[in-house]
Amino acid sequence: MSFSGDTIAALATPVGTSAIAVVRASGPQTADLVRAIFGTTPPPRLAQHAAYRDRNGALVDDVLFTFFAGPNSFTGEDTVEISCHGNPFIAQKILGDLFARGGRAAEAGEFSKRAFLNGRMDLSQTEAVMDLIHARSERALAAANLQLRGALGRQMESLISQLVNVLAKIEAYIDFPDEDLPLEGRQAVQDQIAQLLIGTSRLLATNQYGELLREGIKTVILGEPNAGKSSLLNRLVGRDRALVSPEPGTTRDYLEDRVVLGGHWLRLIDTAGLNQAASLLEKRGVDKTFEQAAGADLFLWVIDSTGPLPLLPPSLAARMTPRNTVAVFNKIDLPAAPRFDRLQAFPFVNISALQGVGLEALQAAVIKLAESFHVETGDELVAINARHAHALEQAKACLVTAGQKIASGESSELVASDLRVALDAFGQISGKIDNEKILDQLFAQFCIGK
């Protein structure tokens, strides 16, 4: 008996942030994959340190990888395990790259299934393996259902119904040439394919947004020394993360922590104060602040409300806009505080980090800005993972070809062939799509029947 011999890949460690994530691939092309990625096939079972570069040569992460030659592996096939840093984004990126190089997403329990089929488990484990496949698939199904019930599901449903619609149109003219159908509108079909391409590309673009979600929105807290930046960080993360003191310049390096605000994952970075006349050590801290600010998505500009409105260094002022900055007037608990109510440049809030006053308003202001990072996908927000991205890439490629074919006047069964592959790719995300759907649409749309 032969079992299908393609190469499968999946995350072997639980999804989420842990210190290390392991991506595993198994199948006949594993050795080729390892050679293509790392340049060599190392001796089996020896962990190697290497840089993981994706298909385009971009560095993804420093990883440890171990190659196992079949049959002496868990599955009995050639296998590789790649340990990367525990950021789920990195693991997804590696997985996505493996798919792009010809791997396929493993089904629930498929590694164990292969181990069993290749005789790496004995017969007494038959039921255990079947139970495992069942349990994993139930979990995967629950997770997928959750996703499909949400925004992704709605986006997919709309793409699929559009595609079924186009296919029904094309099929009607293929299968019913003698019918009295309205004139075959190739231009309309071409327009619909173009629409589908836009929809698919938009959904794919959320892959980038997904990265943002997974990595966190980089939020830099900056301001004059002793404005209360570290107190604010501590307030936001809800514990004493940063050392605070009334002494200006206490924070000389930057500090980082993560916090979830209104469903957004923020990477908070507390920086050294922007001190004009700084010591050499402080100066180095300020340089790092500029470095962090250069890659920031959001700014929290902390201002001591008891003092005069400080000036921003020009390089920072250029990057800060009302769409990415909140001015945070701190220390309103102090009696001498004059209120700055008329700052025009940025949205602002008044708080006391010390006493915890005004934090809700600050959170609301930050959430409002975080939302602007959402990619426009109609009015829905979607984040897709590596497997989805791979399927969408496939669909996109076929839609592009179909669009070209129809534009160059090629025969419509070829256009249909490409569109069907695209439909299958959509089906990888939303579940198998029955042919019958196309016929249902066809008979609903056209009066067929001599």
Partner: protein, 622 residues
């Protein structure tokens, strides 16, 4: 009484399924009996007088590639030939022919009469004879019992057939014919579930009462495309003197073609139908059976597509020696007087005489998921079913099943494994796989869009695709098998040669893909027969697409090869979801590929089955 000699195969019903079934069985050497209620209506075209069309035309060529009779019979009795979709690619081009209805019938009747190993007998089958859960013969209205090792049932619309013309109801499977009233009970008794379907047919009119002036003429192709692959159409080979040298009905294929005519409904037609909807058998709730969506009645058309100003109608001649015309597109179950008004509201038909009214017919069918892919019943061993009893519609769909059922009944009678045509090999494979795996809720008709790999199913490749089956089972003559085999070799040779042989401007194949009409090709290639040449050009031109479909097929074959033991108790498998277990238990797929196509069965269910099967195999061979 019991008839004195038992048969290997008994075929009940002589429609398009029955004739292919009995011919196939007899040609394979089985002693075969054909029972029909009326020998004069063998292979009657109960509906339109045409064979072929989209997907169906390809299927007729597949029937020919497996030794069936439909193709040659159509060629020889055809009165108009058209290749549909000529402007599109070869994969979706389909031959279609209008036939002389009576010539078609009489030629097939004569073919059956001349067929060695085949006996014809006129008697209505009233029931089946069972023994130990197997069928062993059938009872007839003449109180003669016939015994057979296998029985093929092809009842068409006759199983408790009930015809409707408005509120008027008549028992029968076809106007003027009888209804098989007791056979249903015999099937139910054996545990076979039955349901109702409905189909309809339009009025027939007298040609000399039609005013053709002003109607658009539809002529046949100047260069007709035929269905049969064999050489009987060769003008030097007098096809009407075949086999025994007896004079046969028929003419030189493509000669003296006749025209069809096009007309359309009017606003007046719409008004007549709408005003009388309550009298329509279908709209007044008289009919319980489900009708086909692709062949709606005129009532349906006006109701469901109310904004469509008019509906196209074709007037099709029923033969050379008759003045009867078929109004394609005007199927209805309205009362006769309304039909008359309706027909008279149509341009060209204002004064027309109705010869036969339109009617709807309801009949029993056995949901086809109760069969194995061999078309043998899972409930009763040695019982095969083909045609409309399996929920299909169309002469071609029926003939295809009849052929497979006949071959398999013969194989079963001699204890040989069945012929299973896969869905990636032919439309016949798609047809049978859909029926036994998914079942159907309306009369099932083949469409090219039902085939995942239709680019591989161009009509010209039918005898190449099915050669292995034909060769293994010797369904064709040795000389014909030899010709196909060398044709396959020639095509492979030229495919390779055009692809690899370098000319000054690169391989010929590149020139073909750039512009097929401008490419200058080697003289030796141009000297090959047209069919072989066209196949090579098709494969070269569409290489990328065909390769992609072939790769998909290869992947599919892997899971198709993993057989599921027939004794498997799905309901007792741990980990299988209840919904899947029930579906699998109901359909009982033969292999993992088929299991995966059942709606509601997930990849994880297939994984679990795979583990279970592997485990069983390992336990057998430690």
């Amino acid at each position: 009484m019991i008839y004195k000699t038992p048969f290997d195969v008994i075929v009940c019903g002589a429609g398009h399924a029955g004739v292919e079934a009995c011919l196939a069985a007899a040609r394979m050497g089985s002693s075969t009996l054909l029972l029909t209620g009326n020998i004069d209506t063998i292979a009657q075209m109960s509906c339109n007088p045409a064979i072929g069309g989209q997907a169906k035309g390809q299927m007729v060529r597949e029937i020919d590639a497996l030794g069936g009779e439909m193709a040659i019979n159509t060629d020889v009795t055809g009165i108009q030939f058209r290749l549909l979709n000529e402007s599109k690619g070869p994969a979706v081009q389909s031959p279609r022919a209008q036939c002389d209805k009576k010539a078609y019938q009489f030629r097939l009747k004569h073919t059956l009469e001349l067929q060695p190993n085949l006996q014809l007998f006129q008697a209505t089958v009233t029931g089946l004879i069972y023994k130990d859960g197997k069928v062993v013969g059938c009872r007839t209205s003449l109180d003669i019992d016939f015994m057979g090792q296998t029985v093929v049932i092809t009842t068409g619309t006759f199983l408790r057939g009930l015809m409707h013309v408005g509120q008027n109801k008549n028992e029968g499977g076809r106007l003027g014919d009888f209804s098989a009233k007791t056979l249903s009970g015999s099937l139910l008794e054996a545990g076979i579930e039955l349901q109702r379907l409905k189909t309809g047919t339009p009025p027939r009119i007298l040609g000399r009462s039609i005013n053709f002036a002003g109607l658009q003429e539809q002529k046949g192709d100047l260069e007709p495309t035929f269905f049969a692959f064999h050489d009987t159409r060769d003008p030097v080979d007098p096809f009407h003197v075949e086999q025994t040298g007896e004079r046969r009905i028929g003419w030189k294929p493509g000669s003296e073609q006749v025209s069809c005519w096009m007309t359309h409904t009017t606003p007046e037609s719409a008004r007549i139908v709408r005003d009388n909807l309550h009298q329509s058998a279908m709209y007044s709730g008289e009919i319980a059976g489900v009708g086909p969506r692709y062949c709606p009645s005129i009532e349906d058309k006006f109701v469901r597509f109310a904004d469509k100003p008019r509906h196209l109608l074709y007037l099709e001649p029923e033969g050379r020696n008759t003045n009867e015309y078929y109004i394609n597109g005007l199927s209805t179950s309205l009362p006769f007087d309304v039909q008359l008004d309706l027909v008279h509201s149509i341009p060209g038909l204002e004064q027309v005489q109705l010869l036969r009214p339109a009617y709807a017919v309801e009949y029993d069918f056995a949901p086809p998921t109760q069969m194995f892919p061999s078309l043998e019943s899972r409930k009763v061993e040695n019982l095969f079913l083909a045609g409309q009893i399996n929920g299909t519609s169309g002469y071609e769909e029926a003939a295809a099943q009849g052929l497979v059922a006949g071959v398999n009944a013969a194989l079963k009678a001699r204890g040989a494994p069945p012929l299973i045509i896969k869905r990636h090999e032919a439309y016949i494979g798609v047809l049978i796989d859909d029926l036994v795996t998914k079942g159907t809720t309306e009369p099932y008709r083949m469409f090219t869009s039902r085939a995942e790999h239709r680019l591989l199913f161009n009509h010209g490749s039918a005898e190449l695709r099915l050669f292995e089956h034909a060769n293994n089972l010797k369904l064709l003559s040795d000389s014909r098998l030899g010709r196909i085999s060398s044709k396959i070799d020639r095509i492979a040779y030229w495919e390779n040669c055009l692809e690899t042989h370098k000319t000054a401007g690169g391989p010929w194949a590149d020139a073909i893909r750039r512009d097929k009409t401008a490419a200058v090709l080697p003289a030796a290639f141009m000297a090959e027969p047209k069919e072989a040449r066209e196949e090579v050009l098709y494969r070269v031109t569409y290489r990328g697409y065909l390769d992609r479909e072939r790769r998909q097929v290869e992947k599919l074959k892997d899971v198709e090869r993993i057989k599921i033991p027939s004794s498997l108790d799905y309901l007792a498998i741990p980990g299988l979801r209840r919904e899947s277990a029930l579906k699998l238990h109901q359909i009982r797929p033969q292999n993992l590929g088929q299991a995966g196509r059942i709606s509601g069965v997930n990849p994880s269910d297939i994984s679990i089955l795979m583990v279970l099967i592997a485990s069983a195999l390992r336990a057998e061979k430690p």
